[in-house]
């Protein structure tokens, strides 16, 4: 069954001096969020989100669900996963890298089996598939929590 997920954005003015807002998303779970070009393309975000930060959240959440599902199917559901994603954006070039890291507490699972499940989640989660064109997607995984 197909699902549709929505977001609405407004922008006022030119690129450098103008500003935008992610006004609402279909679920209402977050927003409105301010965005601007300087906050996106310079080191200092000024506390504003950006498409790349939203993508990091999309990928980290997608990966986490895929991994939880794979671990549960293998008979060892996780107690807890903590995942971060870091998206590298080079203005004028695009998104060049996504680095995933995951730390997990999974009773009854050894490090090798966990790593294999994590690599599978990285390969197969729908956001990973949609981002297959990103040059480099890395993964660090460890049982730690």
């Amino acid at each position: 069954m197909a699902t549709e997920r929505r977001a609405e954005v407004t922008w006022n003015g030119d690129l450098m001096n103008g500003a935008g807002t992610i006004d609402r998303v279909g679920s209402g779970a977050f927003g409105p969020l301010d965005v601007s070009w300087p906050a996106r393309a310079e080191e200092a975000s000024g506390g504003k989100t950006s498409p790349e930060e939203l993508l990091a959240a999309a990928h980290a959440s997608c990966f986490s669900m895929a991994l939880a599902g794979a671990l549960a199917r293998a008979g060892s559901p996780p107690e807890q996963l903590r995942t971060s994603a870091t998206v590298t954006f080079v203005p004028g070039t695009g998104i060049t890298k996504i680095a995933l890291t995951v730390e997990a507490s999974v009773p009854g699972l050894d490090e090798a089996a966990f790593r294999e499940a994590a690599e599978g989640a990285k390969a197969n989660c729908p956001v990973s598939k949609a981002l297959a064109g990103v040059g480099e997607i890395t993964l660090e995984s460890r049982l730690a929590l």
């Binding site: 003015g13 679920s27 969020l33 393309a41 930060e53 990928h59 599902g69």
Partner: protein, 148 residues
């Protein structure tokens, strides 16, 4: 060119069907946003999903790209409204993002329809998210000039 890094952190507890997660962006712009599998595949129930976040990312990217192309062409927009729908479907038993459908409503002075259409196409080509999503799914951009 600078390399800009943006990060987000997710915590998840439990198995996939009954578990639940929270996510936040490291800028602090959004924090403790809930997500879960049932709300991803069925009713949203006030929870976000990877696909909704991707919709917001694509919308933000395309809004800036359109603003950038219009600015370069000497006719910066007064206002852009961008709506994105990310469609996920089951293909051969797997969930895949199959499309991103974008509507752009623009209020711009001093530009004709044909030039506007061209610039939107260039903006779509320049937006890294359009480019990435198009590698495995369809991206459609419909744009309207001074319609509202």
């Amino acid at each position: 060119m600078p390399r800009i890094e943006r990060s987000a952190t997710v915590s998840w507890e439990g198995n996939v069907a009954r578990g639940a997660g929270f996510l936040g962006g490291d800028t602090g712009s959004f924090t403790d946003v809930p997500f879960s599998l049932p709300s991803r595949l069925n009713a949203e129930s006030g929870k976000t999903s990877p696909e909704e976040l991707l919709a917001a990312a694509h919308g933000g990217c395309l809004a800036m790209s359109v603003a950038g192309e219009l600015t370069k062409a000497g006719s910066p927009p007064e206002r852009l409204e961008v709506k994105v729908r990310i469609v996920m479907d089951e293909v051969d038993g797997r969930h895949l993002v199959v499309g991103s459908e974008v509507d752009v409503d623009a209020r711009v002075e001093g530009i004709d329809e044909a030039r506007f259409e061209e610039l939107v196409e260039e903006a779509d080509a320049a937006c890294p998210f359009s480019h990435l999503i198009r590698a495995s799914a369809s991206v459609t951009v419909r744009a309207r000039l001074n319609a509202t």
